[in-house]
Subunit: 464 residues, 2 copies
Amino acid sequence: MRLSRYFLPVLKETPAEAQIASHRLMLRAGMIKQASAGNYSWLPMGFKVLRKLENIVHEEQIRAGHIPMLMPTLQSADLWRESGRYDDYGEEMLRITDRHGRDMLYGPTNEELITDIFRSHVGSYKELPLTLYHIQWKFRDEIRPRFGVMRGREFLMKDGYNFDLTREDAMHAYNRHLVSYLRTYERMGLQAIPMRAESGPIGGDDTHEFLVLAETGESGVFYDSEITDLRFGDREIDYDDVAACQSVMEEFTSRYARTDDTHDEAVFHERVPEARRREGRGIEVGQIFYFGTKYSEPMGATVQGPDGKPVPVHMGSHGIGVSRLVGAIIEASHDDKGIIWPEGVTPFHVGIVNLKQGDSEADAACEAIYKSVEALGLEPLYDDTDDRAGAKFATQDLIGLPWRITVGPRGLKNGVVELTSRRTGASEELPPEKAVEKIAQIYAPHHGAPRSEPMAKRSFHTWL
Amino acid sequence: MRLSRYFLPVLKETPAEAQIASHRLMLRAGMIKQASAGNYSWLPMGFKVLRKLENIVHEEQIRAGHIPMLMPTLQSADLWRESGRYDDYGEEMLRITDRHGRDMLYGPTNEELITDIFRSHVGSYKELPLTLYHIQWKFRDEIRPRFGVMRGREFLMKDGYNFDLTREDAMHAYNRHLVSYLRTYERMGLQAIPMRAESGPIGGDDTHEFLVLAETGESGVFYDSEITDLRFGDREIDYDDVAACQSVMEEFTSRYARTDDTHDEAVFHERVPEARRREGRGIEVGQIFYFGTKYSEPMGATVQGPDGKPVPVHMGSHGIGVSRLVGAIIEASHDDKGIIWPEGVTPFHVGIVNLKQGDSEADAACEAIYKSVEALGLEPLYDDTDDRAGAKFATQDLIGLPWRITVGPRGLKNGVVELTSRRTGASEELPPEKAVEKIAQIYAPHHGAPRSEPMAKRSFHTWL
């Protein structure tokens, strides 16, 4: 993309309403604009990041054997009356009346709707296990929306639902989700720690929240410092292997890690030696639940079991806050100058800065680099505007592309351009074709997916 | 995908509520389930098709130089009061009150919101031309929703908005949209004819609707039969070339083609010889508008012109009914047995039918074909269930994958499988590896994109 043809309305001023870094930086970098309280338009660069996160979530869910679908944003109140949640849910549920006076609502979650689909179409235990998910906009009418997309009202969430014959099968689904979530967050450059949590209005006993450590997080967290050394990494996993998934679950949840909702100081002291005890704050970016027959029983979601008798299915639901993750990634990865995108989610793979737009040699070198990067299947953002060098660098630092190639007449006289890491600030001079080669190396081995994943498997068309 | 692990709830009975073929077939093929009046859940196979259409729209819009973003589904009523449309829009607009008593609405379209974004961020004519678009769920509270996704209440639409300094520039944007829409529909296997139309509540004088000819269409159409011979085809187009875009527009709109809203019998008779006069019905799948300063003036969307004086921008809006297109494609392409997907939008590229599940040779041959097709980057749907052959064929015909490979012990004894075209019903026997080769040939040259488009250019990640 050439910046002169893009729509990237960066702001020089720090917007007064933004209290935390991610909100401030998303506004300043031209990623979002508030449409109304807690509702945001995703400007082009913001949308690009959001869509990349969505694709990663899709890929990892499909890899785990979960099946994508899509439920509508608006739901009939009738199903919620059946489950008993219509009155329970409180004022965060946006209630709507249509032109015929029918009660509807903007879905804050989809347990009822998916259970209705299940009971309409599945009759036998032979059709299990089944996990369906979607990524759809939700609405929660927060009394005081704040922190930009971190606590907005309209937000994008992945929510998945497993249907199993037994508690054991459902716990395997639970573990599968845990593993797939670990992979998902790591691909986004995040460490998200599963912590024992409370279930809230979803219900159920077994539940873990995934938290990204950040000073601006809304949850207090208490954990064993050993937990921060754990990585899922590039290891292979067979999602059908019950023991393997169980073992990953145990590895990542056996150490003490709880939010303030479930924290128990006595247990913390008993189980964790003082030197490893940590207190901090975290951003919740996902949660998994096992809730058994809480919805299947009242809503009659039963299957015929092996003995011919009807059995209510065991269910769980599993969510990832996709739009909130954009903010969480920025909270975890920025500095005073702006955002620092992890390679796996960056909106553009490399920035190209032309120090002297209009200089025929500099222009030609930039064009050649631009085309070479595109030919790699990567996306460059070429600052081809007339801005002075200082302004171009400030924009690059603000929008946070992980790599920058700077091209100027002086360097070109010596046959070199400059390749700069946004994270370290380190620069090296090298010939243009070597700079492009280096970009190719940086992105080729994983290109947003774990290294073990062959390229051909990762086409979005193929996955979905 | 293995059918035993998929969620494809096909129905044997024809649902009573469905009046038209696409609605009937989408229900029977397990593509959708009604969630409430006019609101549908997209079951896995339906969602796959919807997502493919969405990707085609994105690719063609980005190719035309238009920039993707995303606006929220819910909007504040304030902006609509500013444009004067809040009261005008009538009961189809779903009006909502939030917990603080603020008036909101579920966006039926986005002229106000995009104009607000524009006026907040763009100040100079130098930043023009600019075309922004998004693909987002809309809601229109139809008094009598019907025909499944063809006239639902919650529907997915691409809507794009151009901002230009002059009427001439805006007409170039209009033509660019017309060309990109022709390409879009052709990639979906559809002929959609641009017809002179009325503007309705969007406003403006210049507008064309795109109609797919179908008996079940809701619009009466009157046209010169020559128009049905026109194809955009594989030709190259430079979207910056004003004359080239203008010329395509003239080629496709100079002949008489109007909906019943704008039809003029006298003009029809005067301009079209009797032998070429056609009357029929059509499904509206898109519309483009030029409406000048209708929104920019009341909402103060001005830029500083070359002479330093503020000028209201010339705008247009341009929509494609993405969810409706799923129905339109089926209306245009089905038979008594079921759907017939065009190659460009098929949810799976080839079905594999194992005539004797459990037979070790048949199972092994199916597995080998399955893996070879996947290795091509294509998606097979392997019917590995225990159903009898007749039921498997009926399902394949119903869900309408364009190609089927049938594998059975008898054929394998002679070293062959059967490759069958869903459209023609023609079969040929050939060795398994030759059948896979043929599938590769069928999809390789274009693989959903026009033939002229190199594969590397078509990765979704790269486009978006």
